[in-house]
Symmetry: C2
Subunit: 695 residues, 2 copies
């Protein structure tokens, strides 16, 4: 689901006391694959060339993953990863969620506004440089030095707009690496099935298995107006995938917390997850009913609803995992073991012994700051509903960006650093259709919640609302803003501080008036809390290396990783879940009613289909949100599947991996080829996948 | 709030290790007032006559409290306690929430359909009888014997339809008492202000203080078509209430859990409260947006929304209290102390030592049963949204009632026992306007949630939904049911099993088809879990008596109690909250926009009002949901206020009482008299309150 990227922003403890991963566990950086273990367990030793080819065939698309599947930039990812493109291109008259999209020729491929595809080119270790820059510092000084060094390193790397560079923190600051990505800024839509086929079973079946989803979209990377040349790409396997086959999954898992301290997990369990879930639940109820206003209201809101429902289910599963007493006790035992070993060694105790308590203290400080931080500044996702309008997001970026870009690179808020500006500009200026009614409804709903959460008498609430009702203010803001027009955003972006100061756009006026309050909260968070967490997490990481050695994998951080695992089902009380479903299964499950409704194209072609074709399958690979769209390859490095989900047990994967029941869910390439052939008559695409050059 | 009754159904641990209440803590049964402590601390010793008068002047109205305030049955309670009456009497053209209601003569007083007023007449100890009946039994045998004895005792007491008898369990089975109530079945609406005055500040200000709410309604108990004679009633005080004055509050607190075991509180904290809150949050978002469909949709749904918002805020506060580590640690310490003392005494250890573990085991069993129980049978409130339609509730009562009434009294489900049938019949057959669109929307929303919670492949979900979408099924059920007509309900109720079997009413057909599944779940709950909890809670209670003596108060159980406390504000970080507000304050806080909008009547009369008149006040009395509508009296037993809320800190009151910040919020009688006089020209009412006979 598109909002699995939700998971990618927020917040680690190995399930292993020894910090040493069990076979099939782990999201491994390309340069840290456990080759010895692979050889021992599977008799398979990937060559450097095998690894390099998989790395360069894999891509990142927004908060999702994908892969090049032809030499001409053809990219395979999930339907739910491209929903934002479908939303931007759809109109009341032409709804690509309903009818699907299929370009019969290259000329019909349509630009996905704001989309980028990133291919990981190089990894460079910069640990010493970063740690030296912050040596001996703490609080605000630590944060400034860290930010400045990070901006410097990234800027020196991003030598052209075709490159994107990110400082990646592994093991929570134990290791810093610079990831340089080739950046494709012209991404076009090639093919998408109907939503009913991509998301058959909807929210009720989400995170479940057996499944029957053709959750795919083909995009294409362009370069200078032409299909990009992508010599590194995956070939579709002609060897039938079987139960117990070894597979590899390459992608960008967003966030795990297996190396976090107990104080951090308690905070998440007892505060953060609860409040986020409650907010999502409420917003969800609103969205469900909003979609019943009329057909257009449903069309413009459904993508948002899918995202919220997906995020809710994922976070709810995470929360339930933390609430399992035996599970949490295991995490506590693991931390006790590490802390005991550190305490027993005077040298380690002196260097690292205080880190856990410092983290706990920072979490307590965060508890007091959290309401204001969440509801006013909201540095991370999920954003508060009142700020979930594009208009406000644009206004905030414009107002802050004008001021930040006048500062030296090293002193800016990180999202405005030189190395990040090209991507930010691309997203800001990309066209996006807006439905004013939906914007007003969301904003009014959210402003009402803001008042409730902070209280009617909170200075910020009084400043924003004054004597207006949430509905009045929302209407005034949306109707009084021209930011829906990309040209106006461009004018204000390029006009800088003077243009912002002169603007009478209601949304800009609001963003301007609350910018200072938000900045102060963010500074407090960064200087008093984040810096403490970053610094002390680094100490915990070093303590772990000192005690156990660097034998395990780092927590996921939305950077490129490889997972591996075998094709196999699992057992539930009283039943065995098989590893494959077939195309025939979807027809058995269909009721003709949403979300079990088949597209007309499928109903019409049912008789021509080979119903025994494998459709979806599961493996015991260790993945998490952000892996959506990941390619699944066999030992030969050939494409056998497309990841789109995990099962319900996998939702606890943020905190630990349970190989007995955690499963990754993927679309089988045989179903893709068969559907393209029989249902969609997409010969051009099938030929390109089969290795023919693009017509 | 009306749905504070929500709190009254669900689920103790004294904050006191010694089980001995601090002054001002406690919700005391009328026959167990801590007179010695009152005398010691306040120099005030209530006479038996003082207590008897307060008891007989106090009443129960639904899940709320109230008091007789004239010799002619005039009853004072909260506006939010009479909202269901206002809903039933309002029409699209005449909305009593908007315009208020004021009967200028007795003939204009309107029957509140289904309403009853209960006055506690007698209390009889039946502990020995109940405990003897279940001696040596466990599981299903225990449950049957308990239910049979309870039905027998209540039936023997309820010798006429004018009496209502309830077996009340105190100290979780440590003591059983029979409460006999005088039952007034003809209740009429006399006066209600506009919602804007009653609920000024709405949800944002709910559970907050300073407040400015005229949250009152006057009802009248009738007897044989005439105003009931109520010689025991409260006189309005002419002595001005002052800070630090001692007050008494008489009412029916719904539920506290101060005597529950840690295993029970953990269950509530980690499972039950979270799931309930998430469900309420989602339903709330739906209701907010539903009310925006049009003016009529807002009118028919707002009372439900207020109830849900109130319940959400109350339960959220409860949950946050349980999540405070130091608070929970205190509860754990208290249990450890009791268990240690029990373990140290071989005799006590033998009799009671196993009770805590038995309760913990039952809670674990409940965890597995909970989803089915909640979403299919839902024995308690809050009911799942899919069953929140009146039509379904009626159908279920009709179907079960037909079968149960054919059984011997002692073998019936408790709600159909002879002593309870009169009240049940009154509620079932009372007219209630239905908005089919709202019923369909609620049902569709809830059925969709049912499918999600239990899963598409759950046998019950398949049975109920079949291939239909939630919307289709909801529409079919609502449009195919005639149960909205009280005459049809009467026909089916009186027709018994034959009429139910012959009915083709869609809602009856559904209720009939799922009755068996629901009954089995309920039987499993009652026999395997509830009976274990009841039996072992009784053992814990006896252990507590054996160790500490019976010096404390029992947990609240929606039975008549007295709390006492002094008028005083409290301190928040950086500020002092004073004990009184004035009428002038409402005009300062008003914005002209919901929920800070004043009724026209108030705006027009602002200049005639004495703005310094005390409006709302707080005391440190120990109350909880169910106390809404309670009278507040001074040492002379005269009415000085009307309870309508607690402050936000009071929400943790379910688990313990913190006198430093827990406060009860009440309307001052001076504001009532002044508003009736100046704003509402309700001379007739003011004269009756002043002691004149009714005109």
């Amino acid at each position: 689901m598109s909002s699995r990227a939700l998971l990618a922003v927020a917040l680690g403890l190995s399930t292993l006391v020894g910090g040493h991963a069990l076979a099939d566990e782990g999201m491994w950086p390309f340069n840290r694959l456990p080759k010895a273990e692979l050889k021992q367990k599977y008799g398979f030793e990937p060559t450097d060339e095998w690894v390099r080819h998989l790395q360069r065939s894999s891509v990142r698309v927004g908060g999702c993953s994908g892969s090049f599947v032809s030499g001409s930039g053809l990219t395979l990812t999930n339907h739910h990863c491209a929903q934002d493109c479908l939303t931007r291109l759809s109109t009341p008259a032409v709804d690509y969620f309903k009818r699907g999209f299929s370009a019969k020729a290259a000329s019909e491929e349509r630009v996905c506004p704001g989309y980028e595809i990133h291919q990981l080119a190089e990894i460079t270790d910069v640990t010493a440089r970063v740690q030296q820059a912050t040596q001996g510092l703490s609080g605000e000084a630590f944060h400034r030095a860290f930010k400045a060094e990070s901006a410097k390193i990234e800027k020196a790397c991003a030598t052209s707009d075709d490159l994107n560079c990110e400082l990646v923190s592994l093991y929570h600051g134990g290791v810093y690496e610079l990831y340089q990505y080739r950046r494709y800024r012209d991404v076009r839509l090639v093919f998408a099935p109907e939503l009913e086929a991509a998301f058959f079973g909807g929210d009720p079946d989400n995170f479940n298995f057996p499944r029957y989803n053709l959750d795919l979209t083909f995009l294409r990377a362009y370069d200078a107006g032409k299909p990009a040349l992508t010599p590194d790409h995956l070939s579709v396997s002609k060897t039938p995938l079987q139960p117990n086959d070894l597979t590899f999954t390459s992608g960008n898992p967003g966030s795990t917390e297996r190396l976090r301290t107990i104080a951090q997990l308690q905070y998440e369990r007892d505060h953060q997850l609860i409040e986020t879930l409650l907010s999502l639940a409420r917003y969800r109820g609103f969205l469900i009913e909003y979609g019943k206003r009329n057909a257009e209201a449903l069309r413009v809101s459904k993508s948002e609803l899918f995202g919220v429902e997906n995020g809710f289910k994922a976070l709810h599963g995470k929360h339930r995992a933390l609430l399992r007493p035996e599970f949490f006790a295991q995490l506590e035992k693991s931390e006790r073991d590490l802390r005991r070993r550190v305490a027993q060694n005077p040298e380690l105790a002196k260097q690292y012994g205080g880190a856990w308590d410092a983290i706990e203290k920072a979490q307590q400080d965060l508890l007091a700051l959290q309401p204001d931080l969440d509801w006013i500044e909201a540095p991370g996702a999920p954003r508060p509903p009142w700020a979930r309008t594009s208009l406000f997001t644009w206004a905030k970026t414009l107002v802050r960006g004008a001021e930040e870009r006048d500062k030296p690179n090293e002193q800016r808020l990180e999202e405005f650093a030189d190395a990040r500006l090209p991507g930010l500009t691309q997203r800001l200026l990309a066209p996006r259709p807006l439905d004013p009614q939906f914007e007003i409804a969301k904003l009014a709903f959210g402003l009402s919640q803001l008042r409730e959460e902070l209280g009617t008498d909170h200075a910020f609430v009084k400043q924003v609302l004054g004597k207006a009702s949430p509905e009045e203010l929302a209407t005034k803001l949306v109707k009084g803003s021209r930011l829906g027009d990309p040209a106006e955003r461009k004018r204000l972006w390029e006009g800088g501080k003077a243009a912002i100061a002169a603007s009478k756009d209601e949304m800009v006026v609001l963003a301007r008036s609350i910018d200072d309050v938000g900045r102060k909260l963010r500074a407090r968070y960064e200087n008093e809390i984040e810096s403490v967490l970053t610094k002390n997490s680094e100490l915990v990481a070093k303590a772990r290396f000192a005690v156990y050695g660097m034998t395990s994998y780092p927590d996921a951080t939305l950077s490129a990783r490889v997972s591996f695992g075998t094709v196999r089902g699992w057992r539930e009380p009283g039943k065995v879940i098989p590893s494959f479903t077939t195309i025939g299964g979807i027809f058995e499950r269909a009721t003709g009613r949403f979300p079990y409704e088949l597209p007309k194209s499928w109903v019409e072609k049912q008789k021509q289909l080979d119903l025994s074709t494998p459709f979806n399958f599961v493996t015991d690979s260790d993945i998490i949100g952000g892996n959506s769209g990941s390619p699944v390859v066999n030992r030969q490095g050939e494409l056998v599947g497309l990841v789109f989900d995990s099962n319900i047990h996998g939702l606890g994967g943020a905190y630990g991996f349970d190989i007995s029941v955690n499963r990754m869910v993927a679309v089988d390439v045989r179903a893709i080829a068969h559907a393209l052939d029989v249902i969609y008559d997409a010969d051009r695409l099938n030929e390109e996948l089969a290795g023919a050059s693009q017509k």
